[in-house]
Amino acid sequence: MLKQAEGSHAMAETIALCRPEVICAYPITPQTHIVEGLGEMVRNGHLKNCEFINVESEFAALSVAIGASAAGARAYTATASQGLLFMAEAIYNASGLGLPIVMTLGNRAIGAPINIWNDHSDAMSMCDAGWMQLFAETNQEALDLHVQAFRLAEELSMPVMVCVDGFILTHAVERLDIPSQEDVDAFLPTYEPVQVLDPAQPISIGAMVGPDAFMEVRFLQHYKQTLALRLLPEFSAEFKRRFGRDSGGLLRTYRAEDADMLVVAMGSINGTIKDTIDEMRAEGLRIGLVTLVAFRPFPTAELRNLLAGRKHVVVIEKSFAVGMGGQLANNVDLALRNTPAAPQVHSVIAGLGGRPVTRASLQRVFLRAEAQPWEGAHFLDLNEDIIGKELHHVRKVRRSGPTAENLLRRLGEARSAVSP
């Protein structure tokens, strides 16, 4: 059913259609509206056969989900940023134990400095923990990915993170198609656990594994996740047949067929990039886009097939590994490892901490990648002025103070210098 709704609320409605049995969450911006929506639906009886538990921390939230899932219930939780880190131990525990928990990650920057706005640093911090990670390009895809996520998680007995850009998607009100209960039920069968705590058939879950078998356990975990490389496109195709739209899968392309330059990106930034590409195509530039939906498992082969033979690949991402570079860019480099005639890869870091990404900036950087390529990572729209001033200050004074505060002060000074 078509509705004009806030992303979070629509997500809550869709998750409710997936018949979760235990929902536990701890509030954190920007996922609060999702969990509040679900809580209300449980309270007013709209979402039946569901226990909604108010926990005292994110660590507790995922732990409750772990217990519920191990006992055979379909479990769901949501978090972001600091909350994800607070449950980090449990994140590894859930994937190591093979529990099909689905979690919404309302992508938000990780502090310090504290920042409530969107970027992908939280997802990146846990990308190696054994969870599958799917990135929604639009709010519609955010809804659809949750339906597919439960199916995928339970099929493989492995947890899934659905990444949705905080504020940009979660708090945007737009036209969305909420699926019907009937269609969701047809797509998503009841949860049949691979292992379950049951007095009738006692098992011990979570025993220690020594050097004799740990490598094999991890290999099997990795192997299992690679099965998703086949399943994700299958589910996406099945989803299209039933629900009538493209959603999910590993990746999709936009005007890529004859492109000399391919942009690779994840999440909501893709929408703005598409508009930029249309403008540049109108000027005659052969530029296209690869929207990556699955970050874990990483679709190495599919990406290599798409990128090989192009002149330029511009990877644009909302995350950055201090001391190393962009994680997505590095993963793309991996896909092109040992590829003959590999394209030039240009790494752009954009939108950290919620910095808006504009068509104008994108166009400039895409043109620059070809005309004036750079080494390493290029930070989009960096305020070189305040950076220069801070570096100068730091060189002069030992007790130079907190960097963040210094920059904010300079920004404030710059602003008051401009206005009348």
Partner: protein
């Protein structure tokens, strides 16, 4: 709704090796008074073959507690275990000695995981399946404290059992917030002006549990196993958040003889250092009297973790420990005036 779950076919059968005596199986005692452990039909939830140290108080306590809980719930029980000695010695790779559905997640989240299991059972319409969370003092009073308090506050339908051997034993005897003052541990060595753990630190989790106002709180000891079973059975007859704190001597960590485990546990009670009480909804409902109180020194002497107090003739700190015992006796009304006089 309360069906008896038949033990799975491959459960290890119990065998009583001592024959020709009436003491085995408590046969000198009337049936109603026999312990669960005395029965050859007990669930044997924690079967033999585990790797606990000789004289391990925790293995003893867990065996009694879980079999009692299994009987009380007609074998409809799931246990969630924190990381620690109990988890490690019962599941030595690649074996398990648990014959019940059992789960180990992390060090600090047993209470939350158990709450999740309980929620799942409700949602699956299996309210007869009950849940126990268990852990040592480290996993309960320290790293698991937040989750424990959350479970209490929500009144989740979980019985949490803490096996308190007063230090992080599994990792090599480091101090926890349950370590008594003056005790030597690896991180509170018996050197310096205040050898061992210092006074003025630590927390009393049973009293904190009482302060949460939950349906049932009890302290228990491996020195009184009947009482321990009774308290577990009482707890399993209730719903909501329940907490049992069991004192379990650790020969290795305490530096005591492995044959002294039960004797030391009894001395702890009789000195007043470990008061036995029950509470419901924030109020103490009863305590176990000490028939003949003993001075704390009798309890401390057989433990090498307190040896420095005697070697150094540290009467001042011994007196402080005695003062703690005396305060407990007063607070919980553990001694009748008449008894003391005689």
């Amino acid at each position: 709704m309360t069906e008896t779950t038949m033990p799975p076919p491959d459960t290890q059968k119990l065998r009583f090796y001592q024959k020709g005596t009436f003491t085995v199986g408590n046969r000198l005692v009337s049936e109603a008074e026999r312990s669960v452990q005395a029965s050859i039909d007990r669930s044997n939830a924690l079967t033999c073959g585990h790797r606990a140290c000789q004289g391990c108080g925790e293995a003893l306590g867990a065996r009694y507690a879980i079999d009692a809980a299994m009987r009380a719930t007609n074998r409809n029980l799931v246990a969630v275990n924190a990381t620690g000695c109990l988890e490690v010695f019962t599941t030595p790779y690649p074996e398990t000695s648990w014959q019940i559905p059992w789960m180990h997640s992390l060090f600090g989240n047993a209470a939350s995981v158990a709450a999740g299991v309980a929620a799942a059972m409700r949602v699956k319409n299996r309210p007869e399946v009950r849940v126990i969370a268990q852990g040592g003092d480290g996993g309960t009073t320290d790293i698991g404290f937040g989750c424990l308090s959350g479970m209490f506050e929500r009144n989740d339908d979980v019985l949490y059992i803490c096996y308190d051997n007063e230090a992080y034993m599994n990792t090599g005897v480091q101090r926890s917030s349950a370590t008594p003052p003056t005790a030597r541990t690896a991180t509170t060595p018996a050197v310096g002006p205040q050898p061992g753990n210092v006074f003025g630190t630590g927390k009393n989790v049973p009293k904190i549990a009482v302060a949460h106002g939950i349906p049932y709180v009890a302290t228990a000891t491996v020195a009184d196993l009947h009482d321990l079973e009774r308290k577990v059975v009482r707890a399993m007859g209730l719903h909501g958040a329940r907490y049992i704190h069991i004192h379990v001597p650790c020969p290795l960590g305490w530096g005591s003889a492995s044959h002294d485990t039960i004797r030391l546990a009894r001395l702890a009670v009789e000195s007043g250092l470990f008061p036995l009480f029950e509470a419901e909804h924030g109020a103490v409902t009863g305590s176990t009297k000490i028939r003949k109180p003993v001075p704390v020194t009798e309890y401390l002497k057989p433990q090498r973790r307190f040896a420095h107090l005697f070697k150094d003739h540290d009467d001042a700190r011994l007196a402080q420990l005695q003062a703690i015992a005396d305060r407990n006796i007063a607070e919980f009304n553990l001694v009748d005036r008449a008894e003391v006089a005689s």
